[in-house]
Amino acid sequence: MLALMAALPFLGAGCLLALRGVDRNGQMAVALASTLGALALLLIHAPPVLDGGTSAFSVPWVPSLGLELSFRLDGLGLLFAGLILGIGALILVYARFYMPAQEPIGYFLSLLLLFQGAMLGIAVSSNVLLLLIFWELTSLSSFLLIGYRSDKADGRQGARMALAITGGGGVALIGGLLLLGDIAGSYELADILTSGDVVRASSLYPVALVLILLGCFTKSAQFPFHFWLPHAMAAPTPVSAYLHSATMVKAGVFLLARLWPVLSGTELWFYLVAGTGLLTALIGAVIALFRYDLKAILAYSTISHLGLLTMLFGFGTPAAVAVGVFHLLNHAIFKAALFMNAGIVDHEAGTRDVRLLGGLAGLMPVTATLGTIAAASMGGLPPLGGFLSKEMMLEEAVHTTWAGWLWPVPLVAFLAATFSIAYSLRFIFHVYLSARRDSYPAAPHDPSLGMWAPSAILVVLTVLIGLFPAPLTSFIVVPAIGAASGDIATSFHPKLWHGITPALIMSIVAILVGAIALWRHAILQRLWDRLGVPEAKRIFDRGLEPLVDGARSLSGVIHNGSLQRQLGLLFLVAIALGFEAIRLGGYATGGRETIPAPASAVAAWILLLAGIVAVVKAQRQRYLTLIYISIIGLVVSLAFIYLSAPDLALTQISVEVMTILLLLLALNMLPKTPRRLSSTPRRVRDGLLGLAGGGATGWAAWAIMTRAPNDPISSYHWERSYAGGGGTNVVNVTLVDFRGFDTFGEITVLGIAALIIFALLQPATRGPSGQRLREWVAELPHSPERHPMMFAVAARLLLPLAMMVGLYIFLRGHNMPGGGFIAGLIVSIALLMQYMASGFEWADQRRRIDEHSIIGFGVITAALTGLGSLVFGAPLFTSAFGYFSLPLIGKFELTTAMLFDIGVATTVFGAMMLALAELSHIAQRAHKEEPVDDNPMDIDPGRMLEADR
């Protein structure tokens, strides 16, 4: 039931968004229905609560976090929820008539309901984490409501400011409540409220308290966080009336009351809360006196009254809490009424500027009457509700000492009261009672009933409360006080006449002084203007802009998009962590004896180092670096041969040449000689980094090579290779069987690489790149001969030979060095030779298989081979082999691994061909001086002879 009540507004909002083609009345009806429905549910729960009990409801949500969907209705919650729903209903009606007739209000109302739901959640949630969720939701919805007039700059800024401040407070509150829950050992309000002593004793209490207060103060616009509230007035008036006077801004105060039994009662609490409250009350009241905008006046008055409430809860005595709760009720009633009133004036007279108003009493009597009474209540004039709570407030102030002194608290409270009377009177006189003007922005007249009725109801209420406080309020206020202050026995006896008390005297003096202040307002105003109090918005901006600029410069300096920086850091981190690990983990030299190096090995080593140096030094002649790098490739291949890795040697040799060809193809288009090289300091720095990295890697290699192997798993492979894998070349068996899955991934990579190269180069002939290609001019002078005869002839002879070799290498791969990958490369190289000799066009016409399909076929073959074993109930990639014998042919071996290797070979072949095809395709597009003819050789004496005949 409680949950349903909390959910109803959300449901209403959902309906409003969902409903299409419903007129304003219909939409209002929906909104009202959900609100009143919730109110009804509330009243159903009321009776037990009014007897001082609570009604609770809970379903688990995130048990591990202690976040439960648990609701709990006690006196305080009931009062607050009642305010939210009661005033909410009136506001909805008011909004229906206030909002311009031509614009749809569905979205607006749904936002209001969203907010209402969130507020209700705060009022009734009994899990502080749940409360947090609703808390943040109110910030969000108020952001959207303030920004509702999104085309107005002040609307957007007001909304952002409100969100920034209250959101910031909310963030602090998260921390505070988490700490609180951690101290109390539970996030359930019931548990927390009972563990006040533990909390106050905890060492984390101050932190938690400050964080929580930050949340409350920002929400309730306490100094110095008050300034967002006036800017929130950019919202439509119903919003101001609802959020920024009656309810949302009270959430902070409500939380103070809610946690009062746990947090209050310490010095820290008193000075922080009461002090802030006092200060805010005074400042708000003073500023309110000098504002011209009606809503601004009301906003600052709200700030001031919130200050008073905060102060009362800060006093830390149950009596003060009682007054606080009572004033919370009163203020909500008259302030909501006043905002609606100001809205009406704005709506009918066309302005909210007091300088353009005045003398409306005759023009719009009803409005004037309502406004006057409400303002009187705000000022605390008898016999109205505001008067009672103000009296009691002053009474409490009188009995409160500040650091041993008796006078500060009463004095400030008195000043605040004085100023609030002053601005209230100003509201009455400058708007309604002063002399009528001859022209107003619009022709003022009383609005339709629907617009003034809601405020009327509130005004009547405030009057009645003033006249018969006890019967009308104590039934609800007393339980609320009980819930807030924790002891039910608190006495609450609101009376109009207490006899002559200090408070009464202070009020009378305040009224007189306030009247004088109004009488001499012009002078005071001039003084105030000369004072030049800083504009809050500018302060805020001065706070925020540096933050943004700081972020910009920080991010700009660090994320400058430099690859070199990222690579440098990457190398640096790797090296540093490596050394760190050795430092921590310790190191001992290994005992494995080394192999003495023959002269030839040393020579090869010299070759390698020379090659490396040459490549690094020949930065300016890129073509030469390509020649030099072949030395390295050669030596590495020789090393593999010498160190008994024939498979590696074969692969290295064939990959080597492919890489060179690739680089040559690319270099043809790239600049051959860079104009400038890096600056010397940068080169030195990189050199040092390189030396560090090289040293570390080399040392690691040395360290491991010189220690005995640690029973490597490969011994298993060695033993099983023939018996289990059907091959004697353990490397190949590992590739296609033991670790065939790796190889599968590897050929996939190769295939993808080819696809990407294709995807990259295919569109290169269009756009700016195509432009560059067409305008491209060779850097070096070219010989006109495209296809030299002798090379062409030789290639024709070598092609079949190479293919033979390739197939041979493939077939023996399982038992001797070789295998699918190398075979695929050899065949590609052989074919490539053909392309080089006789031209791409000519050769390609003679090879009519689409490379994409080849690659796809290869990958699929490998995959299917892996999948095939499932058919036999064996796990994936399980290989099978057998020895068969046919008449004549004799005994031969068939292995599924070979099928897999076919997939490998095919993929490799397809990938190579695709990549090279695309690269030469680009070169074709490049600007050429002489036209392309498709002869396999440029000089063909035989052909020429026939041509002559």
């Binding site: 700009g556 190398f571 003495p596 692969t651 680089l663 690319a666 490969s714 023939y722 695309e918 680009i922």
Partner: protein
């Protein structure tokens, strides 16, 4: 001088050169640097199986000492993969040069090739 020493120093030299070249400002030397690094890595991985002369991992009954075949298989995979990657790097740098007209790794115009583009004010 031992073979291990030669291999270790070779790995070190290749790595050093690779790192240095990778930190150049233009794509071509960077690609060379990557090639260098992959040489270094292939040798390194291979060396992790310890070095043995003339004991190719071809299974025969009763042969007790052999070169660890597993690192060789890993290196083969590594060679192939790094070849594919190098191919992409090469083609990509070519393509980027054609598109942007500069072979600067950060794609900034040629005037400031030896500077982090961020340093430009």
């Amino acid at each position: 001088m031992s073979i291990e020493f030669l291999v270790a120093t070779a790995i070190g030299a290749l790595t050093a050169a690779g790192i240095y070249l990778c930190l150049r400002a233009r794509t071509f030397p960077v690609v060379l640097g990557l090639a260098m690094l992959s040489y270094a890595i292939n040798l390194f991985l291979f060396a992790m199986g310890r070095l043995v002369v003339n004991r190719p991992p071809l299974y025969a009954k009763g042969v007790a000492d052999y070169t660890d075949p597993l690192p060789q298989a890993l290196v083969l995979t590594a060679i192939v993969i790094s070849f594919g990657m190098t191919a992409i790097a090469v083609v990509l740098s070519l393509r980027t040069f054609l598109e942007t007209g500069t072979d600067q790794v950060d794609g900034v115009p040629d005037q400031s090739e030896d500077r982090d583009p961020g340093d430009r004010t």
